[in-house]
């Protein structure tokens, strides 16, 4: 298999030669995994040149369906038709050959390769003997970028790119393989509002070129803004199909979840008291010596929630890790309740009454092989009553679990089940149960509801507000604007390691936060009367 395929691959004969556009029909797609029916007789049609939104909450089956379409899974039942002809995709190469391209939620990019290398992987540009032709690849990447308004530097290393830029690379990758249908899986979850606007513009230009787009999301606002048609999935089945003109966010939300839900968090006004957390001129470097947190100062008082907005990769992760003692501080001071914790170890920080719900629950929050009971005691196993001196008391751990499991509604057959076998929502409940049951004066939670079902999201938001009202200081880091606005008494924004704010939440509109997340150094305009711009 030398060179790049100049001949149109066989499967592409089903494509319309005129506009490179593709019509997709999915009929009766069914797929089950052990214990769960992920897709239940799903019918879906994607017309050429349309933007079709697939809406559903986490766990509804959207990604499974698209993975089937992309050849990563085989359906148990049902068939796929491309331009009217039935096809079977045994692997992604088959799907690619039929003109289907996919931009995954978690990017499939190799960090240490360049953009051009990533784009051409699998259909490389070569000279004789399989030698790579970097020059031609570079030219092609630039051409595609210009044609569709996706600016990418072919020679840049992917690990040095921002999240938005990486997403553009993923799209170029799909276009390089002449995709007629582009599947975008939750693309806006990682973008700033202005980047989202750019993406929507790109989608429009793709549409004008005759390509179709399947846009998977759980964000109602984006769906309403850009969709030609919307299909809603719930529990693996199609529960509704509509167009934005004939629907509303509330109706879509009801279809997604199955019952009416509140679209926001009920949050009584805060009663802030003394300062608990004081951060002064904090500077943290990442493991390559670059500035990750740049001279950040802010305070959090007891009885208030401060939320930090920002797209991933702007220093929030490093900030939280520095606060918890997991990473070294290059300069600045961290004080909790009057105690200087700047160079404290994680144990000292936890002992000082700080709770931590980590960003990555599987990596940092839980030990998958340990039982739920042991995980619930992970911070406190060495303290009485769980330990008397060096001797451990596992029965006490079990007893504690028997209290916490019902209290936090953790769905599990027993307290001895290993934590790794729980669903995402239940795992997060274990972490929350552990941290929220300790006496803490400061709670730091990073991305606390990422990837969770609506029920768990609601529950955790409630517990956070309860904790605040019991007098704790709460710091939430989130890249979900709805969560930031819904929970924050005061809101700060991080961009490239610097922090703007915290501002009182009434002072800040959604648009202004969006601008700050994208780096525009706009301070909130006190003259704004609070009615301009979208507010939750």
């Amino acid at each position: 298999m030398g060179g790049r395929e100049v001949n149109v691959p066989a499967a592409a004969s089903t494509r319309s030669s005129a506009t490179d556009s593709v019509r997709l029909d999915l009929k009766g797609i069914t797929k089950s995994f052990p214990g769960v029916l992920a897709n239940d007789h799903i019918d879906l049609t994607v017309e050429p040149g349309e933007i079709h939104v697939l809406l559903g909450e986490n766990g509804a089956g959207k990604t499974t369906l698209m993975n089937i379409l992309y050849g990563l899974y085989q359906p148990d039942e049902g068939e796929i038709l491309v331009n009217g002809a039935p096809v079977k995709f045994h692997s992604p190469s088959d799907a690619i050959g039929a003109g289907i391209g996919m931009v995954h939620q978690h990017f499939m990019l190799i960090p240490v390769f360049t953009v051009a290398e990533n784009v051409m992987l699998g259909s490389e540009m070569t000279r004789w003997f399989g030698f790579l032709d970097h020059r031609r690849a570079r030219l092609e990447v630039q051409r595609l970028g210009q044609e569709f308004g996706l600016a990418v530097n072919p020679d840049a290393l992917v690990e040095s790119l921002s999240v938005g830029a990486q997403q553009r690379v993923e799209i170029v990758k799909a276009l390089y393989r002449q995709a007629g249908v582009l599947i975008l899986d939750e693309p806006t979850a990682v973008l700033t509002p202005s980047e989202t606007e750019e993406l929507l513009t790109v989608m429009q230009s793709l549409k004008r070129a005759g390509r179709s787009i399947v846009f998977i999301t759980h964000k109602l606002g984006d769906a309403m803004q850009v969709a030609d048609r919307i299909t809603v999935l719930r529990g693996g089945r199609v529960v509704g199909a509509t167009v934005p003109a004939r629907s509303s966010e509330a109706e879509l939300a009801t279809m997604m979840v199955g019952h009416a839900i509140r679209l926001g968090v009920e949050r009584p006004p805060a009663q802030p008291a003394a300062v608990v957390l004081s951060v002064k001129e904090l500077t943290v470097r990442d493991d390559r010596g670059q500035l990750a947190v740049d001279n950040v100062s802010f305070e959090v008082r007891a009885g208030e929630i401060v939320t930090i907005a920002g797209v991933q990769g702007n220093g929030q992760t490093e900030l939280v890790r520095a606060l918890m003692g997991l990473d070294q501080v290059a300069a600045g001071r961290i004080t909790v309740g009057g105690r200087d914790l700047t160079s404290a170890s994680p144990r000292q920080t936890l002992d000082a009454g700080v709770g931590h719900v980590p960003e990555d629950r599987i990596k940092d929050g839980l030990i998958a092989d340990f039982s739920i009971a042991e995980n619930l005691a992970l911070d406190v196993y060495y303290l009485p009553p769980y330990a008397r001196g060096p001797i451990l008391n596992p029965i006490e751990m079990l007893h504690n679990a028997e209290v916490r499991i019902p209290e936090f509604d953790i769905r599990t057959p027993s307290a001895l089940t290993s934590a790794g076998s729980l669903s995402g929502g239940n795992q997060q409940r274990v972490v929350v149960a552990r941290e929220f049951s300790r006496p803490v004066s400061l709670m730091i939670a990073a991305q606390p509801t990422r990837g969770l079902d609506v029920g768990s999201i609601e529950y955790i938001h409630e517990r956070i507000v309860q904790l605040r009202d019991r007098g704790a200081a709460v710091l939430i880091v989130s890249s979900d604007l709805d969560e930031v606005l819904g929970l924050g008494d005061r809101i700060a924004v991080m961009y490239r390691g610097r922090m703007e704010g915290p501002f009182e939440s009434e002072e800040l509109t959604r648009d202004q936060i969006g601008l700050l997340m994208a780096g525009a150094a706009a301070a909130p305009d006190p003259a704004s009367d609070g009615q301009a711009g979208r507010k939750p």
């Binding site: 170890s345 980590p358 340990f370 911070d379 028997e402 209290v403």
Partner: protein
């Protein structure tokens, strides 16, 4: 959300006990499956190894016809394995005869194989524990060989240098020296791993070779070398430092076995009943989460490697103080690696380690007899052991071969993948 009513106060020990018992004895239980898989793996390994024996046996190929060839093949295997068994546990009929004859030395003779098995198992328990403890902390301790040597050198040195103190003092002193020596040999790679990220597989193996050459070096110095000898052999250990024999003059089994079993119990207690053990297991399972929960991962790594090294050092001490009584090069003879196979077979559990050590100890003891009476080289036992581990490590292979329909068993403990970078 309404708070649920509090459950009845007091821990529900009975329910917990029932749940645990249920797990152990039900046919679907993991433990039952483990034992079945191990047994079948053992049988399969014996069969494959028999293949090697047959393939290297000239009488099989020189036979005039296939029937004779087959019977020759069969004879060779039966002889070899028969001698193996006899050397490991002895012959029931000769035991009975010895009892009937009533002579003490006769009885002792009949129990000689069992005694040899225990003698061989004793250091294996220690090294198996050393590797298993490492596994639990997420470390692959291949340095058993060097740690055994370091412990043996230290124990031996104390053993023949200290005179005149009562046995109550000398023996524990020598044992402690062995623990410290081995501990030092575990401490170094542990520290390197914690501070620099150096992968313990390579650093421990390098230290193994350093230890081997150190033995030669020391045995040529005046401190160690037996006066009047030019070959590398050390002075004899003082009588007060020798491990007492358990069964009389003719049988070699010594108190080291008891200490080994006590060590296994101690390791179990450490891992599941102490704060320390909790930290070990946490770090072994998920070092990132352990650190986020406040555990000092570096300290755990160093301590785990040191303790593991100390246990292996006790193996060396038990060799020198229990059977050999002086130092010679190569006295450790592959114990470190045997410890790995014992730990893998024992699934990293102290009880499993003891059982596996007895099994492999029997194989080792039997192999001496096998080589003596049928000239089948002792290396065959190493082949058998490695095959057993391979088959145990992939239960799916056993299931496929024997078409078992039992529940899948978790594979051998997975140590941290990658080179630690």
């Amino acid at each position: 959300m309404n708070p649920k009513p509090q459950p009845a106060p007091g821990p529900n020990r009975a329910a917990v006990a029932r749940a645990i018992l249920q797990r152990v004895i039900s046919p679907e239980s993991t433990t039952w499956n483990s034992i079945l898989v191990v047994l079948l793996a053992f049988v399969t390994a014996l069969v494959v190894s028999a293949g090697f024996v047959i393939a290297s046996e000239p009488t099989v190929f020189a036979a005039p016809d296939p029937i004779t060839a087959l019977s020759n093949a069969g004879a060779v295997v039966v002889n070899a394995y028969g001698a193996l068994l006899a050397g490991a546990v002895g012959n029931p009929s000769s035991i009975a005869a010895a009892f009937n004859s009533g002579s003490a030395s006769g009885v002792a003779q009949a129990f000689y194989p069992l005694s040899e098995t225990l003698v061989a198992a004793c250091p294996l328990i220690f090294t198996g524990l050393a590797v298993a403890l490492g596994f639990r902390a997420g470390l692959f301790n291949i340095g058993g060989e060097g740690q055994v040597i370091a412990g043996g050198l230290a124990a031996g040195y104390v053993g023949f240098s200290v005179h005149g103190l009562p046995g109550i003092v000398e023996l524990p002193l020598a044992l402690v020296a062995g623990f410290v020596g081995g501990g030092l040999w575990g401490f170094v790679p542990g520290l390197l791993k914690a501070r620099t990220g150096a992968h313990e597989v390579i650093s421990t193996i390098m230290l193994n070779y350093v230890a081997i050459y150190l033995t030669y070096y020391f045995l040529n110095t005046a401190w160690f070398q037996r006066p009047g000898r030019t070959d590398p052999i050390s002075r004899v250990v003082d009588a007060g430092a020798m491990l007492p024999s358990l069964a009389g003059v003719n049988l070699r089994v010594h108190a080291g076995v008891i200490i080994a079993v006590l060590a296994a119990i101690a390791v179990y207690f450490l891992l599941w009943r102490t704060v320390f053990g909790f930290e070990f297991r946490a770090v072994g399972s998920n070092p990132a989460a352990a650190r986020a929960a406040g555990i000092n991962v570096g300290r755990v790594v160093v301590l785990a490697m040191t303790l593991a090294g100390g246990l292996a050092g006790l193996a060396g001490a038990s060799l020198i103080l229990g059977t050999q009584f002086s130092l010679t090069p190569g006295f450790s003879s592959g114990l470190g690696f045997d410890g790995i196979t014992v730990a893998l077979l024992g699934r990293g559990n102290p009880a499993g380690v003891v059982a596996a050590a007895l099994l492999f100890g029997g194989l080792r003891a039997g192999s001496i007899q096998m080589q003596a009476s049928t000239s089948t080289p002792v290396d065959l036992v190493q082949v058998i052991e490695a095959l057993v581990i391979l088959f145990v490590a992939a239960p799916a292979v056993i299931r496929a071969i024997y078409r078992l329909r039992t529940a899948p068993v978790s594979a051998a403990p997975a140590v941290s993948p990658g080179w630690g970078a």
